[in-house]
């Protein structure tokens, strides 16, 4: 399994993600420059967090037209895996590879803190090995992360099992009070209908190192690796 992490101008979690994949998960991983078109035979493409193009106009709106995105579309269309974290998720919704949109947080502020997540089911690559009873502590850091979709889309997402994560409290209760940013139905992560394109606002790569006293995020990477190798 070969991972690729795309570097857009303004990406700033590319190195963190690369570091976790390479040093903590012991995977083959390369960085891909946004102006190149070659995906270097990567099986799994990550769009990292950050502020691509300064997040000007709308988060992710400009990066979506970077040269490399054409082949990201092709890769996804052929069933290849693509995942966006934070700004990467915003780019994928702007590119319509994922449903919905990410609006300004309900408190109109950037929020950086630990939150808890609950996996919705085990029927996706990312959540396949997760404990559905566990509240995973994963940090968020974003100003525009409030998931929004119209009613029909929401119903479809629920019906198709496209919702991956919801914000919850430390005990695993999904409630208004545990909603980190005002997202509809506490949605923190989704996938496309064919379950090969994923997006989430929280940062699992920030919870994967014993030095940081929190390794809850490793389970997500572990899910990907174990499933593919199996």
């Amino acid at each position: 399994m070969k991972f690729g992490v795309i570097v857009f101008p303004g990406s700033n979690c590319d190195e963190d993600l690369y570091y976790v994949l390479k040093h903590h998960m012991q995977q083959e991983v390369v960085k891909l420059w946004h102006k190149d078109r070659d995906l270097q035979n990567c099986d799994f493409i990550f769009l990292p967090g950050g502020f691509s193009y300064g997040d000007y106009l709308r988060s992710g709106a400009i990066a979506r037209f970077s040269p490399i995105m054409e082949n990201v579309f092709n890769h996804a269309e052929k069933g290849g895996f693509v995942m966006g974290i934070c700004n990467g998720f915003q780019i994928l919704t702007e590119a319509h590879l994922l449903p919905g949109a990410l609006l300004h947080n309900d408190n109109r502020k950037f929020i950086c803190k630990n939150v808890f997540l609950k996996a919705e089911h085990n029927h996706s690559l990312i959540t396949s090995k997760l404990d559905l009873q566990k509240a995973y502590q994963i940090p968020i850091a974003h100003g525009e992360g409030r998931f929004y979709a119209d009613n029909n889309t929401l119903q479809e997402l629920n019906a198709n099992g496209q919702i991956l994560f919801r914000y919850c409290d430390a005990q695993g209760n999904v409630s208004e009070a545990s909603n980190a940013n005002g997202s509809l139905q506490n949605i923190a992560g989704v996938c496309n209908k064919s379950k090969n394109v994923f997006g989430m606002m929280p940062h699992p790569e920030r919870a994967a190192d014993t030095l940081l006293s929190n390794t809850d995020g490793r389970a997500l990477f572990q899910s990907i690796i174990e499933m593919v190798e199996a």
Binding site: P9, Y53, G54, Y56, L57, A61, I62, F65, S66, P67
Partner: protein, 83 residues
């Protein structure tokens, strides 16, 4: 009487507009290379209850000066029409 105020708030021309600059790069990625400059502002519409147009104008100007525009770095202009 009801009036509509169509307000345009723009960064002052001498002030750097980072957003406009980044959007220009994005347009180039789309193959639109002919764009020389991009500046991005806000369009705001107010519906105002006022006795006449000049009062509506005065209210709009006050709203722009006090809240809608930051006069240190933004300029505004507006048009008033009957609703």
């Amino acid at each position: 009487m009801k009036f509509i105020a169509e307000i345009e708030v723009m960064p002052k021309k001498e002030i750097l507009d980072p957003q406009g600059k980044a959007v220009k790069l994005g347009l180039a990625n789309l193959g639109i290379n002919e764009v020389v400059d991009v500046r991005i502002g806000r369009h705001i519409t107010l519906t105002i209850e006022a006795v006449n147009e000049s009062e509506a104008k005065a209210q709009t100007a006050k709203a722009c000066e006090k809240l809608l525009a930051n006069l240190i770095m933004e300029s505004f202009q507006f048009k008033i029409s009957a609703a």
